[in-house]
């Protein structure tokens, strides 16, 4: 019974992780840039939901609609003005660049919101739902459904829309895409915008479950990375499966080894996978 409950908890968590990782994976896969800012974007989205609810009474699930365009614009502008100049630079430089940007953003959040952990609590609370012996809080359940929905939406955009197909084309073969008339620079900016959007939109969802603080950014970033390795780069289904897998592994891991060893556990998992399959569980080789 306990096993089922833990599995359910893990899947709920995993749905959120999938949402976190899909944007990160997209940017990494298409631009070959590791966006260290991703974790801070998530936290910023959380604050947006927190204040929208606290000050304006906007329900956190609705604030996703506000977050989405704002974060898309932020990501688009950032890529267009800064990161695009460094797109062809060695890994170390692009990493250091986004690291520097992250220091600025997280410090700005620290100065504005302080390091205190805030908790977004809905009033009135939504209660719980029971499926047989499995009990799940309703807010978490909705958060998971929305997270998976967002991820699914991203998948649809990539597979069905014109711009989505251009993004996929650039990911597969940049030169060929450029020859076929795709504006690579614009595709990069849109991709980065979409990645940022996914981070910013998952912020309100995570704020329903976890405390919000600038200090939590790196942990989200780490999870996004592990998921990419699990699921392979640049594919939404990969991020989905990787996210669910990590959620389940973490749930059982904290049962067996204690929650304080979550990072160690995912690191060991990460190393094992990288050593056995450097291209990820589902991924194909190609993006270093």
């Amino acid at each position: 019974m306990l096993t089922l409950q833990i599995l359910a908890n893990g899947l709920v968590l995993g749905g959120l992780y999938a949402c976190i990782a899909s944007g990160f994976s997209l940017v990494w896969g298409v631009l070959n840039v590791i966006n260290i800012l991703h974790g801070s974007f998530i936290v910023l989205g959380g604050y947006l939901a927190f204040y929208a609810y606290g000050l304006l009474g906007i329900h956190p699930f609705l604030s996703i609609l506000i977050a989405a365009p704002l974060f898309f614009a932020l990501g688009y502008a950032m890529q267009h003005t800064l990161i695009n100049r460094m797109i062809a630079a060695p890994v170390l430089l692009t990493l250091t660049l986004t690291f520097g940007l992250d220091l600025m953003l997280s410090n700005a959040m620290l100065a504005t919101f302080t390091a205190d952990f805030r908790k977004l609590t809905l009033d009135p609370p939504l209660g719980t739902l029971a499926f047989g012996t499995i009990v799940l809080p309703v807010d978490r359940l909705i958060a998971m459904v929305l997270a998976l929905g967002l991820t699914g939406l991203l998948y649809l955009v990539l597979s069905r829309s014109r711009i989505g197909r251009a993004i996929v084309a650039v990911r597969m073969d940049r030169e060929a895409a450029a020859l076929m008339g795709v504006n690579v620079k614009r595709v990069y900016a849109i991709t980065f915008g979409l990645g940022t959007l996914m981070a910013g939109a998952s912020g309100p969802l995570l704020a329903m479950i976890f405390p919000i603080s600038p200090l939590t950014g790196p942990a989200y970033l780490g999870k996004a990375f592990v998921i990419c390795v699990l699921g392979g780069l640049g594919s939404v289904p990969g991020a989905m499966i990787g996210g669910l897998a990590l959620g389940v592994v973490e749930s059982f891991g904290s049962l067996w080894f204690g929650p304080e060893h979550a990072t160690t556990l995912s690191f060991v998992l990460l190393i094992l996978i990288l050593l056995v399959r450097p291209e990820g569980l589902l991924g194909r080789k190609g993006y270093a």
Partner: protein
Amino acid sequence: MRREALVAATLFALVGLFPLVGEAYWLRLGTTMLMYGVLAMSWNFIGGMAGYPSFAVAAFFGLGAYSGAVAQKFGAPAGLAWCIAAASALVFATLLGLALLRLRGHYFAIASLVVADVLRELVNSATDLTGGGMGLNLPVPAMSSIDAQAAFFFYAMLALATITFAATLLAARSKLGFGLRCIQQNESAADMLGVDTTLYKVCAFALSAVFVGAAGAIYASWVHYIEPPDVFDVLYSVKAIVMVLLGGAGSLFGPLLGAAVFLSLEELVWRKFIDVHTGVLGLLIVLLVMFLPKGLLSLSQRLPWAGKRP
């Protein structure tokens, strides 16, 4: 090689005169600068020479700090504790390197970045040995005055920096350094030419750890108190990288120059913008990467008086 050794010896000897003229504040700054120099020169082995974007400096620093502190807790004298710390960092990096150095690019970078978090978590939970989140107090050295203590740690760090520089010089002017340059330029071609890439990379990784481990231990003794978030701070990794980038990656004196310039900037930023100093640090990093990716030494080559590079 002789000329460079001579320049360096003069430089380190001059720095050695520092305590004679400096007051406490400057001595503290000098010790920090030497420590930064050790971190930067160490990162240069793996990041500059071999071209592997390692973020593991923080892990080695924290490991060294805790190894030294625990050794001192069990009664080891400071000098012995520092050697133990260096050795444990060396062994750890060798084993870790055998696993991690099979990865390339982003995978290696992030995997190395996570190591510090993992160690911090382990140290946090090993409360009996490390004091966990409460931190660990170290014995204060039995010395007559505060000034004498400050000078003692300054010279300890100076000695370590000298050794690190000597190791850099020896590596850069030997088969090891040459092989690492080959790996940095094209690893599979190096492999084809007979370079045992695994061995060379592990050597570079171990070299990037051993002196950092010692620096962490000296730091722990110096400040008398350490806690996990302090010594496993990822900023140690980032700072080491930034200092090398600032000075010029792969060069001999670049990391030292970078350390000096970086510390000056940091000190200014600290004083003027205490609340947002990491943000300003971030801005510095962004500007550096965008406008000066080859470092300050690259500027000198544009000047008319600059000699031809050898």
